[in-house]
Symmetry: C2
Subunit: 323 residues, 2 copies
């Protein structure tokens, strides 16, 4: 396949001139420019993207590390990321980590290898020191709260949302507020926040219960059985996902309880499921977060300002019941 040298030779100009035409430099004589373009067309020439990347030291590609187990709560986020990246003429490398630390840190070396210009970290298992160590090799932005101040982040203020939800439930007079989460508090910061928010909000002796390891509909059914078979039946439940909430609702019905008559339930991530079943769900506006994360990652001030975006989003509380 033809390269820039062939084009230069055939057009009777130097390689530099061809490069200038390619990069739309001013100061190229019109006739030569046209000649070069004609030759490029004739030879069906394309630049070699890898040579460009090597030469320019820039790839116009960003990497996005996502756990990608199977539940797709990253969909909205990725959507936002793709949209903004496309706008800024960047491409997106999707890096599934399956929550494995080894895989995650191997992705960070892509920066060292100059294969990407920056990394967006969604939920991850990396230790702050690991991130810091590798952020020397390139830009990194977290889409989750990052415990290290030095790593720029754009993230939903989950804690504020949790506080808001628990306060809302408390003010409504519920006394048995159960809540669920996914990974256990040791490996999941958001689980810790959830527990902490509960403890800070509800200081009285409530008969609440906490359940972790909830990820999907079946898990919801499982913990629903635990909740409604129990002597202490919840009057409000705050789940960590709409699917889980749906499972709990289904389970409740088999035990003779029905939503919304017998209990209040609040989901998370605001998926079509909460819309369909008509329960409120906390919406973190992940699309916006994705877009902002890309903007921050690719902004010129990245290196200097190191902003820590803090986004405070509120729970959607108008229930639109299925009736």
């Amino acid at each position: 396949m033809a390269n820039i040298k062939d084009v230069a030779r055939m057009a009777g100009v130097s390689i530099a001139t061809v490069s200038r035409v390619l990069n739309e430099y001013p100061y190229v004589a019109k006739d030569k420019q046209e000649k070069v373009m004609a030759v490029m067309k004739e030879l069906n020439y394309s630049v070699n993207g890898n040579a460009v990347k090597l030469s320019k030291g820039k790839t116009n590609t960003i990497g996005v590390i996502v756990p990608y187990n199977n539940n797709s709560c990253y969909d909205e986020l990725i959507n936002g990321i793709l949209k903004k990246a496309h706008e800024l003429h960047y491409q997106v490398l999707l890096l599934p980590s399956y929550y494995e630390n080894v895989i995650e840190s191997s992705y960070l070396t892509l920066l060292k290898k100059k294969m990407i210009d920056g990394i967006l970290l969604t939920s991850h298992t990396l230790h702050p020191e690991q991130i810091l160590a590798l952020s020397e090799w390139g830009k990194i932005v977290c889409c989750e709260a990052c415990p290290v101040e030095l790593v720029p982040s754009v993230f939903p203020d989950r804690f504020a949302a949790y506080i808001e939800v628990f306060t809302y439930l408390k003010n409504k007079g519920y006394k048995r507020i159960h809540f669920t989460s996914g990974r256990d508090f040791q490996s999941s910061p958001s689980t810790r926040l959830r527990i902490q928010a509960y403890q800070e909000t509800i200081t009285e002796a409530y008969e609440s219960q906490f359940f972790d390891q909830c990820f999907d509909y079946q898990d919801g059914k499982r913990v629903g059985d635990l909740m409604f078979r129990n002597s202490i039946v919840p009057d409000a439940i705050f789940t960590n996902g709409d699917e889980v909430a749906a499972g709990i609702i289904a389970s409740a019905q088999t035990h003779g309880y029905s939503y919304p008559q017998d209990f209040e339930i609040i989901g998370e991530e605001n998926t079509p499921i909460s819309e369909i079943l008509g329960f409120p769900s906390v919406d973190y506006h992940q699309t916006a977060i994705g877009e902002q994360a890309v903007s921050l990652l690719l902004s010129d001030e990245y290196a200097r300002i190191q902003i820590r975006h803090q986004l405070n989003f509120r729970a959607r509380t108008e229930a639109s019941a299925l009736s």
Copy 2:
């Protein structure tokens, strides 16, 4: 940052030897190998991935073109693609097309530019000739039925599934079988197949109706209103998505009809929604398709055999009602 030259100099060997160490060539003296590795560690050296790509003429990256409007029915597919690609040590560039032909064809030039080793095409608007023309520059595999025999494809046999569904509904004795789809028949092959399957299966004069432009829950509610406000109320509905089906069920209830007492409904893509609401849904096993598509794309026989995988999957028909 250190490059291979620096390493060679410091280790007192030639560049070639360093390269051999990097690529784990046999036939490098143990002492030199260790020395080189020590120096690489000392200098905190990393290969420049772009130089490697340029030099080897291979990127170990594949591109996946997805419409990425907003509904995430590509999630499972992408999951499969990521999994298999990761297994084969390939990386995945996610290329959103927003169903725009210009964008889609711009992505195909990535092959010419040697920036990716192959392309996976999901739902798209490209003309067969466009695909064929560009498949000369690299490997392309379609994850949808491709009208051109020369383009290798791995795809669900939607037509067979549609036939199966309509036959199932016909055999159950339904007479007013409404069905929905997304894009209109001019731009969407699957809409055409749906209509064709209906016509081939149900030759009698049924009072069925067809509705397009259905994409989400709200659309489902909208066409549900049309269906149940009408004098001809359906006794069976085949939708083109679980969200749409959920919308129709919700709408039906506002009109005094309820599922499953008054009508049968079948969804598509087998998402958690059909599980939650308890209606059957056609499952195309997109994860498996994604995996197979990657395997085909990266297999050595790709160039020679040009197989057209045809996967025949069946409708999930066991309903597990919410009740």
